[in-house]
Amino acid sequence: MKLSIIDYGAGNIKSIQFAFQRLGIKAQLTNSPEELINSDKIIFPGVGEASSAMQKLQSTGLDQLIPNLKQPVLGICLGMQLMCHKTTEGNTNALGIFDVDVIKFSNSDLKVPQVGWNAIHSLKGDLFNGISEGEFMYLVHSYYVPKYVEAIALSNYGNDYTVALQHQNFYGVQFHPEKSGRAGEQLLENFIKLKV
């Protein structure tokens, strides 16, 4: 099993690497197209601002590579948002893997960013094996994906919204499984076990 974490200078990749290390799985950090194409599973992380992260992907050609990957890919947080069609953050055209747009929380009663542990529900598919409805995951974000047909998990902040989605071999989660205690580790283990 060869696991790669895409290293494009956007995010807390060390935490993800450590989370796999705690599970006894070695993950390499790389931005080499060849290494990525030859991996069994790929993590697409991301923290920070969307347009500058997208620029980093474009400057290395990863924006062309990622949508054409054939193995399971898991986008985390901003990684997930960049797999969508576009995001209003910095008015950024993203990778277009998920045919949905990312928008900002705008309900005036809500603190933005949402920071903390929120319950997830309407869980679908093998990524959530062994994870209960109502389990808590850790989230930090100001932009979100509304309810969407390819959602495989929802949460509620003002309204129900999408916190995980899947399109073919592409998976995305808004929360940080590497920071979500035992439940988050279960999700990472499930991703590793996914059949191609």
Binding site: K14, S15, N118
Partner: protein
């Protein structure tokens, strides 16, 4: 529903955990990594590490400790204490910290908040504000509460929000170490004037104090040290109590 966060704070000096009472005399409360693992396994929602060492090699020692912590715990953590530049922030984030908290440096150079937020994102930029109520006015203090400034707490809070802070960690110097409860009136006012999460700090003594700060103080999270370190309050018991009081928590 988003839950209210319970955050144990570990004061670190030369790689060991200490806790100041009113920021003056210090007691040793254990090994930071061991304590961190204990808290992560016992329902703490986040951890804050505040480095108060003043040695030449403090940056290196802290970075090493941060990496050690990041390897061992599966919940988010913030590191603060003496952070003065984007370079300091980068070093800590690179070693696995999720957020940094800046305090005096932000007062001395407010643009540092914007620099951190634009380079690493607002989500990692916690601005810690220590304030003391003097003649009915909340004044921001520096150097662990020893040095008064002319800044008003609420004006400063609004400013740090507009500069790009992701969260505010407010410590009341009047309440810290007293175990008489949090500064709920000031907290409620803070929460009403800023739109970013506010973490309450200073004064936790009983479970009721946490309930009060979430309801009366409208805090998004509550931070405490000695009540947790000396096992006066177990986080699980606290959360059960809060849940019975209809306050959403992760249990």
């Amino acid at each position: 529903m988003l839950t209210k966060r319970i955050i144990p704070c570990l004061d670190i000096k030369n790689g060991r955990t200490v806790k100041g009472v009113n920021f003056v005399d210090l007691k040793d409360a254990g090994d930071p990594v061991e304590l961190a693992i204990h808290y992560a396994e016992n329902l703490a929602d986040e951890l804050v590490f505040l480095d108060i060492s003043a040695t030449e090699e403090r940056r290196k020692t802290l970075a090493k400790l941060v990496e050690d912590i990041a390897q061992h715990i599966n919940i988010p953590f913030t590191v603060g204490g003496g952070i003065a530049s984007v370079k300091d922030v980068e070093l800590l984030l690179k070693h696995g910290a999720d957020k940094v908290s800046i305090n005096s440096a932000a007062v001395k150079k407010p643009s540092l908040i914007t620099e951190i937020a634009s380079q690493f994102g607002s989500q990692c930029c916690v601005v810690a504000i220590d304030a003391k109520q003097i003649d009915n006015e909340w004044k921001v203090h520096l150097v662990g509460g020893k040095q008064a400034t002319s800044l008003n707490l609420f004006e400063w809070a609004k400013q740090v929000e507009s500069l790009g802070a992701g969260e505010i960690l407010f410590t009341s110097m009047n309440h810290d170490g007293t175990k008489n409860g949090f500064a709920n009136e000031a907290l409620a006012k803070l929460s009403s004037i800023v739109n970013i999460p506010v973490i309450a700090s200073g004064g936790a003594g009983t479970k009721q104090h946490f309930k009060d700060t979430f309801i009366l103080g409208q805090a998004d999270a509550a931070l405490a040290a000695s009540v947790f370190h000396f096992k006066e309050i177990q986080i699980k018991d606290l959360k059960t109590y809060l849940l019975n009081s209809k306050i959403p928590v992760r249990l």
